[in-house]
């Protein structure tokens, strides 16, 4: 019962047209680069993608937008992508914009077996439309629900063959909750280790949540805003 596969193509092979995928990352930081490339190669269509952002024109989820594989994006911010804008304005692409904290908590709820919860974000705004509201201790909240996702595609720094994951820096972001939330979770890692090589006290995602793991290759890790201090 090994969780390990050789590469991204094997990992994503069972993903079908019309499925809902969660993809980790914030901007281009911590995105599952290898799995995205494999999805482009696989050519599955009509995907619903839950991801905080939608990549840029020629990287990240942007690659899947170019090939028109995405039917709907569920995100909190989608600003860096001209092809995205074109498809959105032409009606080819649906977009569901969700406050970032609500997005994170809805993903966490999915992985935690919590079908719905109350959050204050968006009360009195159009985010509230069609949703139940309720007051607790004098403050207004919106009822938000868990997602139904078929696959979660996440990127970790290190992982072991039991599926335990460790992240580095802010490449962590949405990846841990998404790993918990996928009906099937595929993790790509920069370093694939043997069980026992990670300290059990410092594992970010316990292996029970990870179905498939592989060592990714050729990480580009593109930077959107290279800001530096000059000496």
């Amino acid at each position: 019962m090994s969780k390990v596969v050789d590469n991204a193509n094997q990992a994503v092979a069972q993903i079908k047209d019309g499925m809902t995928l969660m993809l980790g990352g914030f901007g281009l930081c911590g995105i599952p680069e290898n799995s995205i490339q494999a999805l482009v190669k696989l050519g599955v269509k009509n995907l619903t993608c839950i991801s905080n952002n939608a990549g840029v024109d020629d990287f990240g989820i942007g690659l899947m937008l170019q090939t028109k594989q995405v039917k709907k994006m569920i995100s909190s911010y989608v600003g860096e992508n001209a092809e995205f804008e074109r498809q959105l304005l032409s009606g080819e692409l649906e977009v569901d914009l969700i406050p970032q904290g609500t997005l994170a908590e809805r993903i966490r709820a999915t992985g935690a077996g919590i079908p719905a919860f109350y959050t204050p974000a968006g009360f009195g705004t159009e985010v509230q439309q069609g949703k139940e509201t309720r007051m607790f201790n004098g403050k207004n909240y919106i009822l938000e629900s868990a997602f139904n996702s078929d696959y979660a595609l996440v990127k970790a720094w290190k992982g072991d063959t039991d599926g335990n994951l460790v992240f580095k820096g802010t490449a962590r972001n949405f990846n841990p909750m998404m790993a918990m939330a996928g009906k099937i979770t595929i993790a790509e890692v920069e370093e694939l280790l043997e069980p026992g090589e990670l300290n059990p006290n410092f594992i970010h995602v316990p292996g029970i949540f990870v179905n498939t793991i592989f060592k990714g290759t050729n990480y580009e890790k593109r930077i959107e805003q290279r800001t530096v201090t000059t000496k």
Binding site: F26, G27, L28, C29, G30, N52, S75, S76, Y77, V78, G79, E85, L88, L89, V95, L97, P99, Q100, G101, T102, L103, A104, E105, I107, R108, T119, P120, A121, G122, F123, G124, T125, E126, V127, W157, K168, G169, T170, A171, R172, N173, F174, N175, P176, M177, H204, K221, R222, I223, E224, Q225, R226, T227, V228, T229, T230, K231
Partner: protein, 218 residues
Amino acid sequence: MALDKFQIAQRIAKELKDGYYVNLGIGIPTLIANYIPEGVNVTLQSENGLLGMGPFPYEEEVDADLINAGKQTVTTLDGSSIFDSAMSFAMIRSGRIDLTVLGAMEIAQNGDIANWKIPGKMVKGMGGAMDLVASAENIIVAMRHTNKHGKSKLLKECTLPLTGTACIKRVVTDLGYFEIKENAFHLLERAPGVNIEDIQKATEGTLVAEGDIPEMQI
């Protein structure tokens, strides 16, 4: 003379208190980090999962795996911590952020804020703004007093889609420092050399300017 964006940031920086945890939005708020008063230690939170955000890295330190919510490369400091997005908004929603500073397109005299969407234009998304304004007790809005067409951004009612309702209590613009209460903008300080009439003219919402209004000290 009206303040420039650096002076707006400078004035808001004076509201920082020692020990504060602070979330600074993109734009003018980001500049505040450059004017933290001496002897005041604040910890910057970046909602993508970093507490204790440091300055931009030196060229050789740049790490693609360490960015802020504006997607800029940053650094950690001694005492920094890194966490996932659910934890990040847990601390925001539970009121752990002592001060939140963000920009806005419109503010209404009841504290409503609009800063994420202009009908007819490409909508980029609200990011974490709705969570921040719905959760923070202490929010300062940093913005120009009027838009590029010269129209007031301090309004009786917002005309743009809202980001949050009745949540903004303080606004610093290029013309002054305002407290929002009792359904009005109460002028606390004037920008140096700007008089109340100028501010009144630029303010569509109800302006209250009682007694001697001091000039801002920057």
